[in-house]
Symmetry: C2
Subunit: 214 residues, 2 copies
Amino acid sequence: MMVAVRTSATLLRMSTGPLPTLPLRERKRLRAMRNIQSVALELFDREGFDTVTVERIAELAEVSPSSIYRWFGTKEQLIIWDEYDPASLVAFQERLADTEPLEALREVVSLTMGAAFDDDAERIKLRLRLAFTNPSVEAASILQTHEMAQLIAGIIASYRDSDPSDLDIQVAAHGFVGALLGALRHWYASDFTTPIEDIIERPLAVIEQGAGLP
Amino acid sequence: MMVAVRTSATLLRMSTGPLPTLPLRERKRLRAMRNIQSVALELFDREGFDTVTVERIAELAEVSPSSIYRWFGTKEQLIIWDEYDPASLVAFQERLADTEPLEALREVVSLTMGAAFDDDAERIKLRLRLAFTNPSVEAASILQTHEMAQLIAGIIASYRDSDPSDLDIQVAAHGFVGALLGALRHWYASDFTTPIEDIIERPLAVIEQGAGLP
DNA sequence: CCATCATATGACAGTGACTTCCATCTGCGG
DNA sequence: CCGCAGATGGAAGTCACTGTCATATGATGG
């Protein structure tokens, strides 16, 4: 989440109905997960992340706690999880064939974050607010963005035919996601009034031209 | 830790004895904490972070688990905690009177990371390895660097007489610590063969001139 | 449409990090 | 040396998370 990237399939989707091609079992699980996340978000919003137990979410969503842990892994992922993340990753990797990494990143992130925000702005806001409000959720979010950085590092490395642990690449990848996280924090702090384009554009500009600070 | 910054007091210190000015009670607590951390690091190194329980660390260090939690807060902080961090922060803030923020950052971080590494290289290496190896410790480390970013953002903001949540400032601060974390990860991956100067210099260069990537 | 099989779910019993509370102890000032 | 404030240790409790296994349910071939 947070840096949620959506595939074109999502953009074409008009309603929130399930994709008809998926097996019945998968569809059921996704529907349950959507429901569980909704229940969890509402409870977290009303009573705070720490106060609400997973057991209570399970009761309200009418599933077993075991299933919640099997599907989401951790309590924090109830907020962080984004249904469309996997598909978005695929879309990003497809685009890499045509464009160079940073440009592909710009296009996909920009396009899909806008789409995600248009699609269900309130849910995105709530998730970001919860992420920046609670320390453990924040930690999980940050960790996730760092996994993204490692991913980007790997992609840039293969593009330049060098090693992912290369200093330049590490610094650029982590600098970017760090800056993106900072931009998202600003976005949240500004109550989402800053245009999305800026939120994407500035972190990329930092890598390309520097922050131009004092 | 990780971006450990040490005060000049530390640099002047020749042995590892306690500072004589501190009250007896504080000295005792610091001595206990040093010992607990040593015990913990050794156990984590030998048996893995998840396998070792806090209770067992408490037994070996001859303190109660209560005290460990009171002093360190979390199990992860047994690795992350750095005795000299608070004093280093003070040193950084003192230097801000003379120099502009980025330069002060460069000087203090460079000087003190070098000193820390010279002082007890093996301990630093071990802590970094544990931090980059175990997910929960990594999360805690990353969270700490983000607190550092917020701190830097605040300092730059007051220097430029603007708001800490300003987009430029947020992006620069988080970009820097993100890049620094990336550099540290590279440092660890290179088995600490990369010169420390580079580890500090590159992240700052990213902010000042960009990564110059593709 | 049904039997069979693979797989997913739910119930249960743990483990261990972390919190809270209180009795006890120990430096510290008079 | 005494009395006090604050620190420590001990015990009991909460809850996230993990394994295990019987049961249920969707997929598959007849």
